[in-house]
């Protein structure tokens, strides 16, 4: 998947570094040199040699417009300053959350997204729910359809906000503040749910490999159901809304229970003392079921005011 990533970005680089020749440039286009270098540094740090020579050709093409070496030097200085700033920002951000782990969640492709959306809407025929590993590291979503990702939840969240704005506009109740309020309400509910899950997993000493991003991913999957519900409510009226609500609630509950069961509930080959964990499988089951039951409630809460 590394080669895929690099070739995709190199195509992008070549497309951006060559300015449109023959265009009458009304203003000096200094953007084609600097961002090319910045994007280069961000995506493919190991390929700086090939990329830099690429970029210099593009840079030389733009520099022909500058007969003044001072402007040339100023542009070089500015781009090096931008690079320094970018490095500093990257360093600060990587102190709070590891960007590598985040990149794992966005390594998706079209086939994965389509299959995952189908599983979210109709999970009853999916057979194998195990997350596959490869020498102790979980496989990226590109290679394993059961792996959680953050692309679908992010896109679904943004689509939900836009859809909420549209639904409110249809009912003539729209104003920009309402949109921001809707977005922040949904975000706050996600944060609350993730915090409650983390707290309950900590209190019951469940040693699972569910990280914070995994929990964010699993609680973001409900937005797909919400979008489907709101769409059906807008198209088919109140009856369609309730039918779609019931359908997506059942599908989502099934999906959550089957996905989290593998991670939270103890497997048969667990190494804990057989005596002590007699109370815990029940509590772990309660957590899984409570998470699943919470989904329809929050779907209804966040979408009922959009469909009257």
């Amino acid at each position: 998947e590394d080669l895929d990533c690099h070739s995709y970005n190199n195509v992008g680089q070549r497309g951006r570094a060559a300015p449109p020749a023959g265009d009458s440039v009304l203003f000096e286009d200094t953007s084609s040199a600097a961002p090319a270098m910045n994007n280069q540094g961000y995506y493919t740090p190991g390929y700086n040699m090939g990329g830099t020579s690429n970029d210099m050709q593009g840079g030389a093409g733009v520099n022909n417009l500058f007969t003044d070496p001072m402007a040339n030097a100023a542009m070089m200085y500015g781009s090096s300053l931008a690079n320094q700033g970018k490095d500093m920002v990257n360093k600060e951000i990587s102190r709070f959350m590891s960007v590598n782990k985040l990149k794992y969640f966005f390594a998706v492709d079209t086939r994965y997204v389509l299959k995952k959306l189908m599983i979210l809407m109709f999970p009853y025929t999916h057979q194998d729910w195990e997350v596959r590993y490869h020498r102790d590291t979980p496989l990226t979503p590109r290679q394993d359809v059961n792996a959680p990702d953050l692309y679908i939840p992010t896109m679904a969240f943004i689509t939900y906000i836009l859809l909420a704005g549209m639904a409110l506009g249809i009912q003539k109740r729209f104003s920009p503040e309402v949109l921001g309020l809707c977005a922040s309400t949904a975000l706050v509910w996600i944060i609350i749910e993730v915090l409650v899950m983390l707290l309950s997993l900590y209190l019951l000493t469940v040693h699972s490999d569910l990280s914070t991003f995994d929990l964010i991913a699993y609680s973001g999957y409900k937005y797909v159901g919400m979008i489907f519900t709101v769409l059906c409510g807008l198209l088919f009226g109140s009856d369609g809304y309730f039918v779609a609500l019931a359908w997506s609630s059942c599908a989502l509950m099934f999906f959550i229970v089957r996905s989290l069961k593998m991670k939270i509930l103890p497997s048969l080959s667990s190494d804990s003392m057989g005596m002590g964990s007699s109370a815990k499988p029940q509590l772990r089951l309660y957590i899984t079921v409570a998470t699943a039951v919470f989904q329809p409630i929050i779907i209804y809460w966040l979408t009922s005011h959009l469909v009257r």
Binding site: T185, L203, L204, G276
Partner: protein
């Protein structure tokens, strides 16, 4: 129930303050939640109550100093802007 991010921050500050005012020897030991009463039970299943007591104690230890700063900022902001 429309939440803004500001109300989330308010709720978080209030909750952390509530945990921070639980005094160790005047209150927690009286109801059997002191940390010296949590020993025993080796193995990897400490139980919910012990985990909760550990959580309370660690939150109090970690958040003592930052809470002073955050509360001061909140007081100043509320005085200035209502």
């Amino acid at each position: 129930m429309a939440f803004t991010l500001y109300s989330l921050i308010q709720a978080a500050i209030l909750c952390v303050n509530a945990v921070a005012v639980l005094h160790e020897e005047r209150f927690l030991t009286k109801i059997g939640w002191g940390v010296d009463q949590s020993v025993g039970g080796f193995g990897d299943e400490p139980g919910i109550k012990v985990q909760l007591m550990n959580l309370v104690r660690s939150v109090r230890t970690v958040m003592r100093v930052p809470l002073i700063a955050v509360n001061s900022v909140c007081i100043v902001l509320l005085l200035l802007f209502g």
